[in-house]
Amino acid sequence: MDEVDKDKVDALFHALADRTRRDILRRVLAEEHSVSQLAAKYEMSFAAVQKHVGVLEKAGLLTKRRSGREQLASGDVQAVRSVAAMLTELEHVWRGRIARIDALIAAELDSASDPPQEDRPCP
């Protein structure tokens, strides 16, 4: 991956790392919403919701258009479903597993001087 791709992936994961943003994305993928409609769904300020929408937009996951005084947001299905993005999501699942194996091994090395605590019968 070149630097541009890496930046894109960083933006994508930053955008998806927040529960509210994932929820907003789910809504705007289903249908176009105005930012004020979205803001009404959450117990946070209009400005905070607008900021979340901005992060999703920057990651290329949604697009905004203006209609009168309203800003309308809709999810970019193509961006969300691109195979590359999907493989990247899976990659992070695997990275999580690998990090947990690493942590498990490291925890053992730390307690190597302790007596074994998990004696269980071998199958």
């Binding site: 994932r22 195979v83 999907m86 999501e89 992070h92 695997w94 990275r95 999580g96 690998i98 269980r120």
Partner: protein, 161 residues
């Protein structure tokens, strides 16, 4: 970080991840052979895995479920296809109902894990292949996106600690 290489093959829908662990091959094998250790690493912290049956032999079946933050359960199974203890194994990973009956309409991924000695530790290569982009999408729709984001947070915590 132990991950040393990642390959995305967009044509064959294959993800290949290489990681180096500071432990012997036999130790890495044990993590996969022991259901109590396997469940510690399989599910992200907010979707912890519980391994119910586990038999790491050719034709063996593993059943597991992951429990979400709302108490929601998502079951899956492994069908072990080949075993080369302690150097690796291959298996199909699919979704199941809560009685562990495979859900035939759901996608199945083919997985190939190998562990070889490398610089006094273990080099692990994980290869995971999906049949179609639709299958990949379904897997992600099943809540893996949630799991992935949580796993990312956990990685961040590990790095920060």
């Amino acid at each position: 970080m132990p991950v040393t290489d990642v390959q995305h093959d967009l044509d064959t829908l294959t993800l290949t991840i290489t990681a180096d662990f500071a432990a012997p091959v036999r130790r890495i094998w044990q993590i996969y052979a022991d259901p109590r250790q396997l469940e510690k690493v399989w599910g992200p912290p907010s979707y912890p895995a519980t391994v119910v049956d586990h038999d790491l032999v050719p034709g063996g079946r593993t059943t597991y479920y992951m429990t979400g933050p709302e108490g929601d359960k998502h079951a899956g199974y492994w069908l072990i296809t080949t075993v080369d203890e302690p150097h690796g194994f291959t298996f199909d990973d699919g979704f199941a109902d809560l009685d562990f009956n495979p859900l035939p309409e759901m996608p199945v991924s083919k997985n190939d894990f190998t562990f070889v000695e490398h610089d006094g530790g273990t080099r692990a290569v994980y290869v995971s292949t999906y049949a179609s982009a639709g299958a990949l999408q379904q897997v992600l729709d099943m809540g893996i996106v949630e799991g992935a984001s949580l796993a990312i947070n956990q990685i961040d915590n590990l790095i920060a600690s």
